[in-house]
Amino acid sequence: MTETIVVTDRLTKKYGDHIAVDDVSLTVRRGEVYGFLGPNGAGKTTTLRMLLGLVRPTRGTATILGARPGHPAAVARTGALVEGPGFFPYLSGRDNLRVMARYQGVTDAAVDSALERVDLAGRCGDAFRSYSLGMKQRLGVASALLGGPELLVLDEPTNGLDPAGMADMRGLIAGLAQQGQTVLLSSHLLGEVQEICDRVGVISRGRLLAESTVAELRGASTVLVRADPIDRTLAAAMQVAGADAVRLQDGGVHLDLEAGRVPELARELVTAGVDIHEIRSSERSLEDVFFEMTAGERNGGSGELRP
């Protein structure tokens, strides 16, 4: 499962003086859901368009499924939904997919199975223009799924959806991932990426700030202890977590410790005879990590937080 199917090497795109994508090097492995995370205008869509061969990079290279972007071998094995679904408004959902199926040279049976997979079979006879935004997005995913591509590229698949539509789309992607589908999706919604992605790449102002698993990005969970007296509290904490993992900060003792070891810590503190006021474990959300990174960017710092 460690085969990489997307590799970019210092991919760069300039529009005049504006650098939309700057030296982005990322990898997507087979079978994973890779989240491409960043605020609007960070360069996510431009990067995806370069990977699909819709835009030529100014500099750098990309390899998709062993071929250069836009090469027939890569395009035929990639399904994509970029910048919202674009379909013929007067055709039904099913006829729209039949048109796309003809372009690909796949049968109408593939159309019906794609419609089933996105749960749109019941409304596939209605005109595309009568669809809700969520249904249009699902049809976009169905079009991307046509012919069983090895890589699915989804650009902001939940953009503009209501909470129910978002949950539907997340469920759909999670379901596809369970079937072993490799998915590369972009999003500006951190919670979404946190829930369904195996690995994430964080991009801001065209630069890839970090690339790793969600867990690694969030870092180890920390435990805060407030207890008296402080010296005996520190000693007990160090005994459980190790001397390097304990810091005294704002009158509280912070430990880098898994949440599962909190009871052990509590026992040690009680045995040491300290008065415990508070023990709390806190996990950083991806949002905290993200703002930490982009704050460095905004302040002109390097922002390099590559774990």
């Binding site: 674009g86 007067y90 046509l146 012919g147």
Partner: protein, 221 residues
């Protein structure tokens, strides 16, 4: 599993043409434009002139005397009058058809969707042109059937002998009609693609034809 169609090969072009034909065939706009052209052709070439003939008021467009009118309405005259309406209305309608077929895809985002399905830009564009040619052939053929029917009906009603035109002459006229239509449709496609919208070509089709008609009318009087 997807079959990797070489995006520049003849198979890819065939796939593009089949895809484009499907979506043009199911597009009400295509049927409306084709229908409008057939109705205009029937009205101006046969209905009005037949009324003029029966009421003795001269040719609808040219004010020609009624004597020559009946001859123009008979099957033998089809090659002569077949392309008559094309510069006036047919061209405008074909230009609008071409512009809508190629230009609308930019606003709808369908070109982008199509290009992610595999065909190269050139093949996708060529597919649209070939499919559009098929539509034009169908419209021109429909016009031939309609004109033949109308002139045969008039010949029967007016107790004239049913003399069909010379095949070579007819083929030349129909071929000319095809070329004129294809030229206008291609112009519409080009403007639609260059401006990435059908608006300019539709405007030119409507406005240009209307003004030329007004000029022609003024020139005639």
């Amino acid at each position: 599993m997807r079959t990797a169609i070489e995006p520049t090969g003849i198979r890819a072009l065939g796939a593009s043409v089949r895809a484009e034909l499907l979506r043009l065939r199911k597009w009400p706009t295509v049927w409306v434009l084709g229908g409008v052209w057939l109705a205009l052709n029937l009205t101006f070439a046969y209905v009005f002139n037949y009324i003029a003939y029966t009421t003795g008021s001269g040719n609808f467009g040219t004010g020609e005397a009624t004597d020559g009118l009946l001859a123009d309405l008979l099957p033998e005259a089809i090659p002569r009058i077949y392309t008559g309406g094309l510069p006036m209305f047919g061209g405008a309608i074909m230009m609008i058809l071409g512009a809508l077929a190629a230009g609308s895809g930019f606003g709808w985002g369908t070109w982008k969707t199509v290009l992610t399905q595999g065909p190269g830009r050139l093949v996708a564009f060529a597919g649209t042109l070939v499919a559009l040619s098929v539509v034009i052939v169908a419209i021109i053929a429909g016009q031939l059937v309609l004109d033949s029917g109308a002139s045969a009906l008039i010949a029967t009603v007016e107790s004239q002998a049913l003399v069909w035109p010379d095949a070579g002459e007819l083929a030349q006229s129909v071929g000319g009609g095809l070329l004129i239509s294809a030229m206008w449709a291609t112009a519409g496609v080009l403007i639609g693609v260059l401006t990435r919208s059908p608006a300019l070509a539709v405007g030119l089709g409507l406005g240009g034809r209307w003004s030329s008609r007004t000029c022609c009318g003024a020139w005639r009087t």
